[in-house]
């Protein structure tokens, strides 16, 4: 399975990754706040991830690591 790792506490909840994901499997976790007080980005269905890295390409804070199995 492909893996996407978010450095949750470094995320600013800007949403660019969520908007870029072609599978629509990234969203901001509105139920939680990270250490900075933002709703951090999270992957909701990792099995559907195709490791295109669109999320990482758009992330202004380089918090995303994408691993292809």
């Amino acid at each position: 399975m492909n893996k996407v790792i978010f450095e949750t506490d470094a995320c600013k909840g800007c949403g660019l990754c969520a908007a870029a994901c072609p599978k629509g499997i990234i969203s901001l976790d509105t139920s939680a706040l990270n250490a900075k007080g933002y709703h951090p980005a999270q992957i909701t269905d990792e099995k559907a991830c195709i490791a295109c890295a669109s999320c990482a390409v758009m992330c202004p804070d380089a918090v995303i690591t994408v691993i292809k199995e």
Binding site: C14, G15, A19, Y38, V57, D61, T65, I67, K68
Partner: protein, 253 residues
């Protein structure tokens, strides 16, 4: 296999930019290019006055803070004394196209063998969203509250087009970072702009159409749309100069 991870040349510190500000994307791209070309140990960056004033905290290479607009002159001072090092400036609209216009034009005319990363977000971000030389006609800013009016505030400047007329410019390309496709193209352009320096071709500038969600009063994703709908039609993407302006490797500066 790791498809993407944070570049080594980007320091492991949080960046102070607003959420969704594309400064972060461009910093990342520059760091990725520095990693890929393996030039971190030979690179000296020149930081502007503007939101990126702390750029020196975000990269692992040597860095110097320039006074407002003077980065190309400061870069000249470093590159001429250390021609084998890689020197780049990172500048915003006010820095490059207002107070620094003369330094920008003359470094380009001289064909200084440096790389300029120009962040065009049509306003002065750090000071709260004032009009810039790149503010478009009709665009509202804090110092053009009725929209930029030709008869009062005059016209904006198309930097790539203007600089392309100078013989010392090896490469001038306008890119955007508002979509995955555009970001990938922007990275290619930035990489070429650094490779040109290694190949001693002359001055390379990449104008990056960027967002300023905070001062535009938009969400980060709406700001990306603004680039598509309003900025790209006015500032067309593309290559404005691509030549070996200063003779490349065969020319001793």
């Amino acid at each position: 296999m790791i498809v993407y991870k944070r570049p080594e040349a980007l320091s492991k510190v949080p960046m102070h930019y607003c959420p969704g500000c594309t400064h972060g994307i461009v910093h990342r791209l520059v760091a990725e290019v520095i990693d890929e070309l393996n030039i971190e140990k030979d690179t000296v960056g020149v930081a502007p006055v503007g939101c990126a004033v702390f750029a020196y905290n975000y990269f692992e290479c040597d860095f110097i803070e320039a006074s407002h607009g003077r980065a190309p002159a400061v870069a000249t001072g470093i590159k001429r004394t250390h021609p084998d090092k890689i020197v780049f400036t990172y500048q915003g609209d006010g820095d490059l196209a207002a107070i620094g216009t003369a330094e920008t034009v003359h470094a380009a005319a001289r064909g200084e063998n440096i790389t300029i990363i120009f962040i065009n977000n049509t306003n002065y971000g750090m000071t709260g969203g004032q009009m810039a030389p790149t503010t478009m006609p009709g665009q509202v800013t804090t110092t053009s509250p009725y929209g930029r009016q030709k008869m009062i505030q005059g016209n904006p400047i198309h930097v790539c087009e203007m600089l392309s007329t100078l013989d010392g410019v090896a490469y001038a390309e306008r890119v955007a970072v508002n979509s995955v496709k555009n970001v990938r193209a922007a990275k290619k352009a930035i990489k070429k702009a650094f490779q040109n320096q290694i190949d001693k071709k002359g001055l390379s500038i990449v104008e990056v159409l960027s967002t300023c969600p905070t001062n535009w009063g938009m969400s980060p994703t709406d700001a990306l749309k603004f680039v598509d709908e309003k900025m790209i039609p006015f500032y067309p993407l593309g290559v404005y100069a691509d030549r070996n302006a200063m003779g490349g490797d065969n020319n001793d500066k």
